[in-house]
């Protein structure tokens, strides 16, 4: 094991006061002990106001991320009567409702670039449902894991991370329905499908940054729990999930595309149905996501040290 950067800086920053006399426990040594490293593996100190991201530590605990994700998925499917069907029902039923009520409206149904409205809506809802659930679950994840936080140490980012990870499993299941719909509507798979992993990764990172940030705020301000579902709902309407973004014109469209989710959804459809990619919107999504990710990771790390005391 090695020192993290933050531990190095902290080591350099403080010196043991010479005046401090420690109580020494002179050990009666009966057993061979493994040789000790020269430098402490861990230094425990009050942290400075800006802390390193500690990504190396997160990497060391990557198996925990896997197990917590696996737990979230497993428990949800064990506790619910319908199990994995929930992952499908949510986007599917929403799609049916929207198809019934909006699909035949001239404004929407005719402006989907020739894509049948049900599959057009389902594709949008699929990626949106993943995003919305991932943000909601990870936003509530820290508060829900109070028992872990107060009893054991590990990089706290793992908790919101696992909640997002569990969402990916649901996404994979619901994706099967999309495949079925594509066969049904005779939509051929094109080369553009290769963009799918990129878009999915982008969505995951975006959900992680929003979720992580919300989860940290939620520890301090329990308002988040109530505000989050409302916020997510509003967000859906400005994300071109169930309508084509081409319906929005002029300046409003620019505003729409500043929303990173809108850019993702638009391009997600493009990669599935072979319509034209909107590279500008994608670039905006990437930039917004990265900025958000860095900001929320740092702010998470800054709030992290008080989690165990106030959660």
């Amino acid at each position: 094991m090695d020192l993290t950067t933050s531990e190095r800086t902290r080591l350099a920053g403080t010196e043991t006061q010479p005046g401090a006399v420690a109580h020494t426990i002179a050990g009666s040594q009966r057993n061979p002990a493994p040789p000790l490293p020269d430098k402490p593996l861990v230094t425990i100190e009050p942290s400075k106001s800006w802390v390193a991201l500690g990504l190396r530590e997160v990497w060391r605990y990557r198996e925990l991320l896997y197990f917590l994700t696996w737990r979230d998925v497993k428990v949800r499917y064990k506790q619910t009567a319908l199990g994995a069907a929930w992952a499908i029902l949510q986007p599917l039923l929403t799609m049916l409702i929207f198809t019934l009520f909006f699909g035949n409206l001239a404004g929407i149904g005719n402006r989907t670039d020739g894509i049948p409205y049900p599959i057009f809506a389902y594709a949008g809802l699929l990626i949106w449902t993943f995003f919305a659930n991932a943000v909601t679950n990870s936003g509530n994840s820290l508060v829900g894991s109070a028992n872990l936080i107060t009893k054991i140490y590990f990089p706290r980012m793992i908790i919101p991370g696992a909640a997002v990870g569990a969402g990916l499993v649901d996404f994979a299941i619901a994706f099967l329905i999309l495949c079925g719909l594509m066969v049904y509507y005779h939509i051929a798979v094109r080369w553009s499908i290769l963009m799918l992993p990129v878009l999915l990764a982008l969505t995951t990172l975006l959900a992680l940054s929003v979720g992580m940030w919300m989860s940290a705020l939620n520890v301090k301000y329990r308002d988040i729990r109530y505000a989050l579902p409302f916020l997510i709902q509003l967000w859906m309407f400005i994300s071109a999930v169930i309508y084509p973004s081409s319906m929005v014109g002029g300046k409003l469209r620019i505003a729409l595309m500043l929303n990173p989710v809108a850019g993702i959804i638009e391009n997600f459809r493009a990669c599935l149905f072979g319509t034209a990619f909107d590279w500008t919107a994608l670039a905006v999504s990437v930039i917004v996501t990265l900025v958000l990710l860095v900001y929320s990771a740092y702010s998470f790390r800054r709030m992290e040290r008080t989690f165990a005391d106030i959660v």
Binding site: T16, A22, N31, A33, I44, Y61, L64, K74, V219, D309
Partner: protein, 418 residues
């Protein structure tokens, strides 16, 4: 020898009340901001009160040592463990650890009731910091240690509390960090398993690993630990060989309790509510008891669901952790071993006058299965009291008599004809 843990003036300050209602709502924070300037005008903020849970704690621990941390509730023991296991940050000071730390502050952290025993072993192991390969290589050992082979694929919510604790401890016991930090986790589980846990912890230190162990059980502390740290009000009061520190603790007047109360816990089938020291006419006594007076331990407990085969027992210890005796309500009443219906019960046991020697005693009350390897519902060090000299036979000659007891027995004397 180079220490494996070096703590230097560690301190942890909590804002008062933070433990209960630390989190705020946005509205409160906004109101707070708005008020802050006003408060300043009025002459300083309405002092946010703080309390130092830990202050100026410095010590060094050598590799391979088992060190006990003792002290009253609220003395800062758990805070110290939390700092060392990096769950929370110190406010001041610094500690250096020259080894991996595994902490066991609670049995079964992260166990999920819906998951099976097998699944929980993996989950809990990885939460405690084991790699998947490590868990796999120790899987069979863990299962054997916990004695749950048959129930591996049963969700742990169907486990008895004993099985649950066994499994949880088994996972933790197979952690192999250089430093193991253990909070009071041995309070539950059956006797045989408690012994097994204590042995396992001795094993751990025999392999050159360092153990920090918090407990109220002076017997376990005396058995396991070579050294002890005594904390009081967040500061180190004494540090050194276990027997000396335990003696300091027991005689310092830090512990003295003539009544023990415990909240009702509906999830437990049986639980202790109150233990008290009472005199002849049920009046509550202080923790000073006259040698020439008899007294009783009054024990109140609740039975939530019908239990059978259980007994209520007391264990009396002297200051150095020696067990003086054990006595159970079922000793002379076999009928009590049958099912006890739900309800609130009160038992008492008489300790005769002129019987216990002068000195300080602790009494533990155990609600458990009477059989050797049954469930322990409760096991608490309930009372600490002194028997004060009011004219014991020894004192009449200015002698401190040895022994746990100083009974006045019936002697016969008669001249034997020559």
């Amino acid at each position: 020898m180079k220490p494996i843990i070096k703590a230097d003036k560690l301190g942890k300050e909590y804002k008062l009340g933070t433990r209960d209602a630390a989190y705020s709502t946005v509205r409160e924070t906004l109101v707070g901001w708005a008020r802050a300037p006003l408060d300043l005008l009025r002459g300083g903020r309405k002092g946010t009160q703080t309390v130092w849970a830990l202050r100026d704690v410095s010590f060094e621990i050598n590799p391979g040592e088992v060190v006990g941390i003792i002290g009253r509730n609220g003395a800062g023991k758990s805070t110290l463990l939390k700092l060392l296991s990096r769950i929370t940050e110190p406010t001041v000071g610094r500690a250096e650890l020259y080894g991996r730390v595994g902490s066991l502050l609670e049995v079964g952290t992260g166990f999920h009731p819906e998951l099976s025993g097998r699944e929980n072993i993996y989950l809990n192991g990885s939460i405690l910091g084991m790699s998947r390969a490590e868990i796999e290589s120790k899987f069979d050992e863990i299962v054997a240690f916990a004695e749950v082979e048959k129930f591996l694929d049963t969700p742990v919510k169907r486990y008895s509390s004993g099985m649950y604790v066994r499994l949880a401890f088994a996972v933790a016991a197979h952690l192999e960090p250089e430093i193991l930090v253990v909070d009071e986790v041995l309070a539950v589980g059956d006797h045989a398993f408690q012994q097994k846990c204590l042995n396992k912890m001795q094993d751990v230190s025999a392999h050159g690993r360092t153990v920090l162990f918090v407990s109220h059980n002076m017997g376990a502390i005396s058995r396991l630990c070579q050294r002890c740290i005594l904390l009081d009000q967040g500061r180190i009061l004494d540090i050194g060989p276990t027997s000396k520190v335990v003696q300091t603790y027991m005689t310092s007047g830090l512990v003295q309790r003539s009544e023990y109360l415990q909240a009702s816990e509906p999830s437990k089938e049986m639980n202790l509510r109150r233990v008290a020291l009472v005199g002849a006419s049920d009046q509550q006594l202080k923790s000073e008891i006259a040698y020439h007076e008899g007294f009783r331990f009054l024990i109140e407990y609740e039975v939530q669901g019908p239990v059978s085969g259980v007994s209520v027992s007391i264990v009396l210890y002297t200051v150095d952790g020696t067990c003086a005796f054990v006595s159970a309500d079922t000793d002379r009443h076999d009928e009590l071993l049958e099912t006890r219906a739900p309800g609130h019960y009160r038992s008492s046991v008489l300790i005769p006058a002129e019987w216990l020697n002068i000195g300080r005693y602790t009494v533990s009350v155990t609600l458990s299965s009477a059989a050797r390897s049954g469930v322990v519902y409760d096991d608490v060090e309930a009372l600490v009291f002194n028997v004060v000299d009011t004219g014991s036979p020894g004192s009449r000659h200015g002698i401190e008599r040895k022994g746990v007891l100083q009974p006045i027995l019936n002697w016969t004397n008669s001249p034997v004809g020559t």
